[in-house]
């Protein structure tokens, strides 16, 4: 009950008049302002007032001094807030779908070469996606996920971060990896789970990770990365407090609008807000969570309105507008580092053009024409290309040349990675604990003996070191 002494309770008179009372005591009939029957009055609050005297309500104050809603104005109107009465939060756009600048204050902050590099990043992701989707259909990899239509969200946000900023992804952000310097061979080594995969062949395809690039390894369970991002941001904040020579850093974390329904999302925003963590929450709102459309995912104004609810600076942006996404992220990073740090939420509106994954056929739940319409209407790569062409820094020839050379590079990396050996079998026992436990050592020996005894029953040849890797 320590907090009681600090709390600022409401005057009992307010409740008596019935003008304002905790929502929990409001009955279903809302048209009258009758006070609740005595037994329903908020007794704990009244008692609290008697004991808590350090903070008091000034007589005749216009604002309520509840500790939980410090600047709430008294009102004699009994009115419920109706979300439908509010306009939806606006969507910021710098360049429209024709590649035309619509924000008069917009000025590109990148050199032509830098823009072309980022454009090529988006193109690379989209070409790799096509190749790998097909590779899965051929049985060359077990699984793949494309990010078609969402390339700008990942590439443009990443481009506005510093390389030393720390990133937690969901899974549809290959553009973040590409922008940061993940090579095609890095993608392919992970996808083929070969011995060069830092994940040691343990993870499903697309679960990339890179310590060098400050991107944590992707984890399938949704939204778990979000509170972790808040905690990581707090770590960066404390570390800089303890050593001001460390450059200021933020954490950026990505998630879908579906993942935002998980409890972890709410926990993350609230913890980040209360501990003032320098973290940027980047939502890819692409309209679907597998088959579930946003209409069945939430009824509020997207994900952005939730940021406001948690006291977090928030913006909604056109996720297909490379420039808008970049600019918004650049500002978000500045804000996240202000006043010792604070969270920022970005909701990037886009559309999942392809199936959820290679395991999904989206035409079982959405019309082909919906997808076709979207593809015709808007595409982040086409949009930036139009802008570049209008500026005279890109043309048809360059486009063709770029696509061809990227495809060549992708296929080359593909073939090389596919031929590599798998990691040693031993890797299945390692990293459960920092050191192999006696139990695991025994299990390793047991497996070794078993493979020796039944050599025909197992194919150890793809694995580096064969069964001998289990010795030691």
């Amino acid at each position: 009950m320590k907090s009681l002494r600090l709390s600022r309770p409401p005057p009992a008179a307010l409740f008596r008049r019935g003008a304002l009372r905790p929502a929990s005591t409001l009955s279903a009939s809302t048209s009258t302002a009758r006070p609740p029957p005595p037994h329903q009055r908020p007794r704990p609050a009244l008692q609290q007032r008697r004991h808590a005297s350090s903070l008091s309500q000034r007589p005749d104050a216009k604002y309520l001094m509840f500790p939980g809603a410090v600047k709430s104005q008294f009102s004699h109107e009994l009115r419920f807030v109706q979300p439908s009465a509010h306009e939806a939060l606006p969507t910021y756009r710098a360049v429209d779908q024709h590649g035309v600048v619509v924000d008069p204050s917009f000025a590109p902050d990148l050199s032509d070469e830098e823009v072309v590099k980022l454009y090529r990043d988006m193109l690379t992701v989209s070409i790799m996606d096509v190749v790998m989707f097909d590779a899965q259909r051929q049985g060359r990899v077990s699984f793949y996920m494309v990010s078609a239509g969402e390339e700008a969200v990942s590439v443009a946000t990443a481009s506005a971060l510093a390389p030393e900023d720390v990133i937690f992804c969901q899974y549809r952000e290959q553009g973040v990896f590409k922008q940061r310097g993940f090579e095609l061979s890095d993608f392919m080594n992970q996808l083929f789970a070969n011995h060069k995969d830092p994940g040691k062949g343990r993870n499903m395809p697309v679960h990339y990770g890179s310590r060098e690039l400050n991107i944590h390894t992707i984890s399938s369970p949704l939204a778990t990365q979000l509170p972790q991002a808040a905690g990581a941001a707090y770590a960066l904040k404390v570390q800089r407090m303890q050593d001001p020579s460390v450059p200021p850093r933020v954490v950026a974390t990505y998630f879908g609008e579906g993942a935002a329904s998980e409890g972890d999302f709410h926990a993350a925003l609230n913890m980040a807000a209360t501990r003032s963590c320098p973290v940027i929450f980047i939502c890819r709102n692409n309209g679907y969570a597998i088959s579930t459309p946003t209409l069945e995912q939430y009824r509020g104004d997207g994900i952005a309105s939730r940021g406001v609810g948690y006291g977090i600076d928030t913006i909604r942006v056109d996720g297909n507008d490379f420039w808008a996404v970049r600019e918004v992220t650049r500002r978000a990073r500045e804000m996240a580092l202000q006043d010792g740090g604070k969270p920022v939420l970005i909701e990037a509106m886009t559309y999942r053009v392809s199936h959820h994954s290679t395991s999904d056929d989206s035409f079982a739940y959405r019309a082909r024409v919906e997808v076709e319409d979207w593809k015709r209407r808007d595409n982040p790569i086409a949009r930036l290309r139009k802008w570049m062409e209008a500026k005279g820094i890109w043309d048809e020839n360059q486009e063709r040349e770029a696509r061809e050379s990227i495809r060549r590079d992708v296929l080359k990396a593909f073939s090389e990675a596919e031929r590599e050996k798998k990691p040693p079998i031993r890797a299945m026992f390692e990293d459960v604990y920092e050191e192999l436990t006696p139990e695991l050592q025994e299990q390793m020996k047991q497996l070794r003996r078993h493979l020796e005894k039944y050599p025909e029953e197992y194919d150890v040849s793809p694995f580096e070191g064969g069964k001998e890797s289990l010795d030691k």
Partner: protein
């Protein structure tokens, strides 16, 4: 070990292939072909294997391949035994059970992530159309929300059947299951309310390429919780009867469905409504020298292993399907081990603190059974690690490991 055909079954379970070509420009022609020497697939069987062969679901004696075999099951009620059967795979049998439950009891609700369009494994196909969106619906993406919601509905007299998309994703709902569903009746005491109407379904187990988060079998986490009934069916016929029993049961039930069987396991399933007994094991094959206790998919591997062991060693092996993993049928297991004197427990989940530990401990604790033991109770299970992508063939129990352990307990 997983066969190529079951791998295909898994990807097909999620998607009719080919549909996506139209969405993405085809690049197939440009992917260089790979020489056979370099072809690597996930967990396929080696060419000279004699034990670790793919399970042949079309011939296994564990499935009812004829109507006669299905209707001969003595656990079926007489009117069902006199009825008809239909060939179904496991997801169709689950769908059939859900459909019967929705039709026979209007307090039944079916919901979860992506359930309305049929679910990612097609278990709930057509149910929303048939029984309406008020009783069959999509939820937002929140497992804790789904199970909390289900418990509340159960406490107010409904019979919710909640789907968790993968068993690997049940953990956000752990609090609701452990602290709420399991304890609801206990804490309400004489008030008499419970969450007994609750049934939770979740696909579990390895498929060859599910890796860390699409392979887990977390049954032992739930068998540690008094108050929950934990069930894993081995076949379509069993899945239908056990699911209907769970839905009708007044205890909260957790059903783990081996997802590799959704399409792979096909058998004749009685078309009528029937419940199979909960917390009752089934002796699938009688034998006198060793008892093999298992549940779910590994039963097929046990069957192949014991067939080979009987042939090679001239012994006779008894095979028991626990079916309900907790509270489990101790008597059937004890009776068998008192006869054979040797026991092997097989499951996919990690060996450490798993179901095998509980079964083995209970066997040696029962004085009469202990005295009959000729060898220590053996466990064949996943190693004490996570479920890594490339190493599933070495991690999950396979025919060779089961065979080897049958031999070991015999030679002890």
């Amino acid at each position: 070990m997983t066969s190529p055909s079951s791998l295909r079954a898994f990807s097909k379970a999620l998607a009719p292939r080919g549909a996506s070509r139209r969405l993405l420009r085809a690049a197939s022609s440009s992917i260089p072909a790979l020489s056979p020497a370099h072809r690597r697939s996930y967990s396929t069987h080696p060419p000279n294997a004699k034990l670790n062969l793919p399970t042949d679901y079309s011939t296994t004696p564990l499935l009812a391949h004829s109507p006669h075999a299905a209707l001969g099951n003595p656990e079926l009620p007489p009117e069902v035994r006199n009825g008809t059967t239909k060939r179904m795979n496991l997801f169709q049998a689950v769908n059939d059970a859900l459909s019967i439950a929705l039709a026979e009891d209007e307090s039944v609700l079916v919901f979860g992530e992506d359930v309305a369009f049929g679910g990612v494994f097609r278990c709930t196909g057509k149910l929303a159309e048939t029984y309406g969106g008020d009783r069959v619906f999509n939820t937002p993406l929140t497992e804790q929300g789904i199970l909390g919601f289900a418990i509340g509905a159960a406490a107010q007299g409904m019979r919710p059947v909640a789907e968790i998309q993968f068993a690997d994703y049940v953990y956000p709902a752990f609090d609701q299951l452990v602290n709420e569903a399991a304890k609801f009746r206990y804490r309400d005491g004489a008030c008499g309310r419970s969450a007994g109407g609750l049934t939770v379904r979740m696909p579990c187990g390895g498929v060859g390429h599910g890796a860390l988060y699409h392979s887990q079998s977390p049954e032992a986490l739930f068998t540690h919780i008094p108050g929950l009934r934990v069930i894993m069916p081995r076949s379509p016929l069993q899945a239908k009867g056990l699911l209907l029993a769970a839905i009708r049961s007044n205890d909260p039930c957790v059903i783990l469905e081996p997802k590799i069987l959704y399409r792979a396991a096909v058998e004749q399933v009685p078309t009528g409504a029937y419940a199979l007994p909960l917390s009752k094991a089934e002796v699938l094959k009688e034998g006198s020298d060793v008892t093999v206790v298992s549940y779910g998919q590994p039963l097929y591997k046990c069957e192949a292993a014991l067939r080979q062991a009987e042939k090679d060693l001239g012994v006779s092996v008894e095979l028991i399907d626990l079916r309900t993993i907790y509270p489990w049928d101790r008597e059937t297991v004890f009776r068998s081990v008192r006869k054979t004197g040797r026991c092997l427990v097989v499951h996919e989940a990690m060996v450490n603190a798993g179901v095998g530990a509980e079964v083995a401990a209970a066997i040696q604790e029962d004085p009469e059974t202990f005295l009959r033991l000729e060898a220590p109770v053996a466990r064949v299970a996943g190693f004490s690690i996570h479920t890594p992508l490339m190493y599933e063939a070495f991690n999950l129990p396979d025919v060779a490991r089961i065979y080897d352990n049958i031999k070991k307990v015999l030679e002890y």
